[in-house]
């Protein structure tokens, strides 16, 4: 009986491991697979909400030569939906890890904290890609949404936005001590970004100090990137810069979330 001399292919590390990140992402997706209604809501809900906006502005006349309101708002929403949905889903998922004791258990295993968070980012990023494909397809065919640039760029921006939502959701959940707090972090983190992103009031028309705040909020750049794709057929440098900023903000939030995830608690 020599059970202690089992061959261990992976030495004890808590360094980043693509293998552990992938198996965590697969686990998160498997959990989703058993929840058909959540999957259906993730895939269909943004399209339905977009339909409501379409009907809202359908009969409102637009001045000739001007972009219709639905084209402007609808396109922006393609970036905001995945951000909001993934923020909420992630905060709840992380809170469940905490309350079920699985988080504490994971922290005693060789899984690095960043592996866990990247696993969530990867899983929900994939879901966001599917969601964006459905929404963009419905928006451009059923609701005649006008996009000058490639719709693949719209999908890409939606996915990067979703990953930003996941990262901020993970970060926020570190500060939530209860379900009630977790849910209220949504308006705290999401709404100011939505108000100041340039959709409700053009950024040039904001008071200087509000514009300064808007400048440091990542959603602002996501919206600007979408507007660039909506306006010009060719890929613009501003768009790529904006996508880079949003991705950078997401990575920063993930790193902060990993840093605030304490292995030892009182």
């Amino acid at each position: 009986m020599t059970a202690t001399t089992i061959d261990r292919p992976q030495a004890a590390t808590t360094h980043l491991s693509p293998r552990l990140t992938a198996s965590t992402a697969a686990r998160v997706l498997r959990q989703l697979r058993h929840d058909h209604r959540t999957i259906a809501m993730m895939l269909v809900l943004p399209s339905l909400l977009l339909g409501l906006l379409y009907l809202l502005w359908k009969d409102v006349p637009t001045f000739p030569g001007q972009e219709s309101t639905f084209d402007r708002v609808g396109l922006t929403m393609l970036g905001i939906f995945p951000f909001v949905v993934m923020f909420l889903v992630t905060s709840i998922a992380m809170l469940r890890e905490r309350t079920s004791g699985t988080l504490e258990r994971l922290l005693t295993t060789p899984l690095a904290r960043l592996d866990l968070l990247l696993g969530y980012g990867l899983a929900f990023g994939l879901m966001a890609a599917l969601q964006a494909l459905v929404t963009v397809t419905v928006a451009t065919t059923v609701y005649d949404l006008d996009v000058a640039g490639s719709i693949w760029l719209v999908v890409l921006i939606a996915v990067v936005d979703a990953v930003l939502g996941v990262a901020l959701g993970l970060l926020a959940s570190a500060f939530a001590r209860s379900e009630f707090q977790a849910v209220q972090f949504m308006p705290v983190i999401v709404l100011p970004q939505f108000f100041l992103c340039g959709l409700l009031v053009a950024r040039e028309q904001m008071a200087g100090w509000l514009q300064a705040i808007s400048d440091v909020l990542p959603l602002t750049y996501a919206v600007e990137a979408l507007q660039e794709v909506g306006r010009s057929a060719a890929e613009t440098g501003t768009m790529w810069r904006d996508i880079g900023i949003v991705a950078g903000a997401a990575l920063l939030a993930l790193a902060l979330a990993a840093a605030t995830l304490r292995r030892r608690t009182s």
Binding site: A3, Q10, S100, T109
Partner: protein, 264 residues
């Protein structure tokens, strides 16, 4: 070195309450050590300190020669919390395979761990559809699959029927015979007799570090429950006189903190 776990002067505070009051003991390798005491005596806190997820006030916890919680230990130690910590929306198989992957183990080894806890027939079921006892065993399988050298189990037999409980204890002894060190907590004294060694905890104090046989002698009873009670009473008499002294000291108006500082 003989001890798998060494605890020296461990003090833990939770909130403003002192939960562990300077514990010192050693857990021998390859044996089943029972951690016994009533609910609220600090068993879970002590186990959390050993697995390295508990903030400690002072003292030292060493596991397999490394400080508790160090990265090198995460492949060598398994922890099963009191409430089953598994994913309710995954099947037993998916749960165990996930934890297997974290320890670098294959799906085949995951299936073996499921068989070890007698859940092969329920492997495809979602954990949320299982009974409480089955959930506990699924949780245990997720730790067993890592083939840990030290296995820390918090009340693993709560809610199990007697037959399963005996099976599980046989399994623990088989693991110990193969070289695994087990630390098993329980608040039921009839399980104490199944352990090789016993640590009795009450209100955050260690009142016995012993074997079942020694405990029967010290507690002047063949019944472990009665022996435990006798030890508690003996301990309380000593403790009561100790408290009296500290009351007098508080009454004299000398703040304890400043006294300690002046000593340091």
């Amino acid at each position: 070195m003989d001890a798998a776990v060494t605890v020296t002067d461990l003090v833990v505070d939770r909130g403003r309450r002192r939960v562990l009051h300077g514990l010192s003991f050693a857990v021998p390798t390859g044996e089943v050590t029972g951690l016994l005491g009533p609910s609220g005596s600090g068993k879970t806190t002590l186990m959390r300190a050993i697995v390295g997820v508990q903030q400690i006030r002072s003292g030292e916890v060493t596991v397999l020669g490394e400080p508790a919680g160090s990265p090198a230990l995460r492949n060598r130690l398994g922890y099963v919390t009191q409430a089953p910590s598994v994913y309710a929306d995954l099947s037993v198989r998916d749960n165990v395979r996930y934890f297997a992957s974290l320890y670098g183990m294959s799906p085949r080894e995951a299936d073996a761990a499921i068989a070890d806890v007698g859940l092969t027939d329920a492997a495809g079921q979602l954990v949320r559809d299982l009974s409480g006892g089955q959930m506990g065993r699924a949780s245990l399988a997720c730790a067993l699959v890592g083939c840990p050298e030290v296995l820390v189990l918090d009340e693993p037999t709560v809610g199990l029927d007697p037959v399963l409980r005996v099976e599980l204890w046989d399994r623990f002894h088989a693991l110990a015979a193969a070289g695994t060190t087990l630390i098993v907590s329980s608040h039921v004294m009839d399980e104490a007799g199944r352990c090789d060694r016993l640590l009795l905890l009450r209100d955050g104090d260690l009142i016995a570090d012993s074997t079942p046989a020694q405990l029967r002698t010290d507690g002047r009873s063949d019944d472990l429950e009665a022996a435990f009670l006798n030890l508690v009473r003996a301990h309380e008499e000593v403790g009561a006189s100790g408290h009296q002294r500290s009351d007098e000291r508080a009454g004299s108006g000398a703040p304890r903190g400043s006294e300690q500082e002046s000593l340091a």
